[in-house]
């Protein structure tokens, strides 16, 4: 186990009607809030109105930025930064899923920076300070509600890049499972895949001696496999939605990744290249790519880790490590398929045209992945396997 610091400073307000507690939390930071949201589902559901009423009742002034897209764009971020600067905003409240939260974090960082906010994403500058943010989560998926990560897409350069900073951790996040009742099957399934992918990225590393983290990782995966199909079949099943929502936060708040050198994140980097060009739903891209990444990186030396996962999570009995590993990968693909997730890029109308370019872009800062290092040729091969 490697040395680590662990500080999950985000306060989680979990459960029905927890939204009623936000005003008290926000007033610790100021009286003028920018509410950010997406394509209007929070208008339709009444959530935006409800939040505005709560804030008005507590004399908190509100500005708004709607229309943030899935895979949040740099333009929205820049618009948000202008609004904050012009209106002396004290606090950003994100209503939505990971894209809204990620975009809001970018705004929060940009407000406190003189230069171009994109500098953070191309590693030209580091986030040192940010406006405080809070979130009201409406989709169980990215875990952004309990960590300091943010991924933003620059349409001009066709780049989708991540940053991470302590100062971008939300001060609080409201996790009310009923707010996810209206999430459709496709998005629910994508969310389940996203959660599981975050666990995989931190589970498949060459680290040894992290029994506890790996056992907890397996517990989160088992939860997804149990509760995911229930949430698809019964969208208003509170317990299933609650388990998935809390799993999304715990999957990427440091819990399963602490004590390891770093996560692998190769598959995420590849998916980012695909969705930078094609605007693919993140979880769908991961569902297509992850089992192929697994097939590609599997070898005799690392088979034991796949086999362990299969035995502990999928009940695979096979004793031979490589055979068990292959069965595990097949079980993961079968589970994703049972959620009606596509298995090939061609199913979501992504041609092989840009595979080589995607491989090169994925490796523009050098080889990716940690469980097994991948160069641009390897990335292109994984994309070929996924076509």
């Amino acid at each position: 186990m490697k040395n680590f610091n662990y500080h999950t400073s985000t306060k989680i307000l979990f459960g029905k009607n927890k939204i009623n507690e936000i005003a008290g939390e926000i007033l610790n930071y100021g009286k003028h809030v920018l509410i950010t949201y997406g394509q209007g589902s929070v208008i339709k559901s009444g959530l935006l109105e409800k939040v505005k009423t709560i804030l008005a009742d507590n004399d908190i002034k509100v500005s708004e930025l709607g229309g943030i897209q899935p895979n949040p764009r740099l333009e929205s971020v820049k618009k948000g930064i202008s609004i904050c600067k012009e209106n002396d905003i004290d606090f950003i409240l994100a209503l939505g899923g990971g894209s809204i939260i990620d975009g809001s974090k970018a705004i929060a960082a940009g407000v406190k920076y003189e230069g171009d906010v994109w500098d953070f994403y191309i590693r030209k500058a580091k986030v040192e300070d940010a406006l405080p943010i809070g979130t009201v989560l409406t989709l169980a998926a990215t875990g952004s509600e309990m960590n300091g990560g943010s991924v933003v897409t620059n349409d001009e350069t066709q780049e989708k890049l991540p940053i991470s900073s302590e100062s971008l951790k939300p001060k609080f996040s409201v996790l009310d499972p009923t707010l996810t009742f209206s999430v459709n099957k496709y998005q629910t399934a994508s969310g389940v895949v996203d959660i599981m992918s975050h666990v995989f990225e931190q589970y498949f590393t060459p680290d040894m001696g992290t029994e506890l983290q790996d056992n907890i990782a397996e517990g989160i995966l088992k939860t997804c496999i149990n509760e995911g199909p229930i949430a698809l079949a019964e969208p208003e099943n509170y317990q299933a939605r609650a388990n998935l929502m809390w799993a999304s936060s715990l999957a990427l708040n440091g819990l399963t990744g602490t004590g390891k050198m770093m996560g692998d994140w190769g598959t995420h980097m590849i998916e980012h290249e695909v969705s930078a060009i094609y605007d693919l739903t993140h979880g769908v891209g991961l569902a297509i790519l992850f089992p192929n990444w697994m097939k590609f990186v599997l070898n005799e030396r690392n088979a034991f880790k796949f086999a362990r996962l299969g035995r502990n999570v999928f009940g695979i009995k096979e004793e031979d490590e490589v055979l068990a590993a292959n069965k595990t990968i097949d079980a993961i693909r079968a589970f994703f398929s049972s959620l009606d997730m596509p298995a090939k890029l061609s199913e979501v109308n992504i041609p092989e045209e840009h595979f080589k370019k995607m491989g090169e872009k994925a490796c523009k800062f050098g080889p990716i992945g940690y469980f097994r290092r991948l160069n641009d040729v390897a990335v292109t091969e994984i994309l070929e396997l996924s076509k």
Copy 2:
């Protein structure tokens, strides 16, 4: 899943030599520290000197309170409060295991309270404010390093009582596994039992729909069962010590208990009555009592939860729920015995003389336990089973 707030505000500094980072953390709170410790093992190991050197190098003034006993006594606490008040202490740094930390929390609360600190423990007053504390952990067991709980013993009244408050959560805790290399087999095994007991107390509840919490709980238990025997056989096995140390914190920082109505804690209440009179090592008392509590509360309605534990953690194949439940309890007793933990109170020279009185005292605020409510007669029966 019940509504909950989750805020693990303690910053964990985990790993070798992390002690070197304490000065920066402490300076956030002040320049005059009370160092608390126990019977002198931190003098022998050189830890106290090392800490004092680090603080001196950073111009942090130090006062000291040594001699805090296992099952920390109210006298030590009162002495600490006096020292803090007389010297305008800004911060308390606890060097040791759960007893030192619990005693230090009591001091921290008492300093900010006009009345008798024991008022908190007899529920006459609530902790509203406390001096900030930090810890350097030397024993993997109680989890006090990452929560707001404190248990103190009043010798005069033969009472050992718990309190819990947000403001008693340590600001930081240093978890350096090498500091537990010198912990002997008996204390190491007691620590493993203590960690597992904390998981049991939160696992055995009547709540439904907490799949995630229960899966994580099972992951922590599996870690204890894997790593405990390794730490006994090889006291300087870093990975085993590291897994146990991090498990101790995660077992009682809210992670497995959130979303449940409350933990059971019946067995802990019973053990507190035994050790209030006999000064028994906490984990040893729990090793004796827990399997007997399980046998006593097991019935046809709740057998499924024991059976689930047995199947997921001990690999029990039995299909009948009650039979599987009994096998699970036997497996737990067998595991504790494999750690050389006693199975009977008579083995630690505790006679049956006070069983009735212990039963009455355990229930002085009413019946205890939540998985199954226990009155004084039931508690006495569990003690009889354990004699």
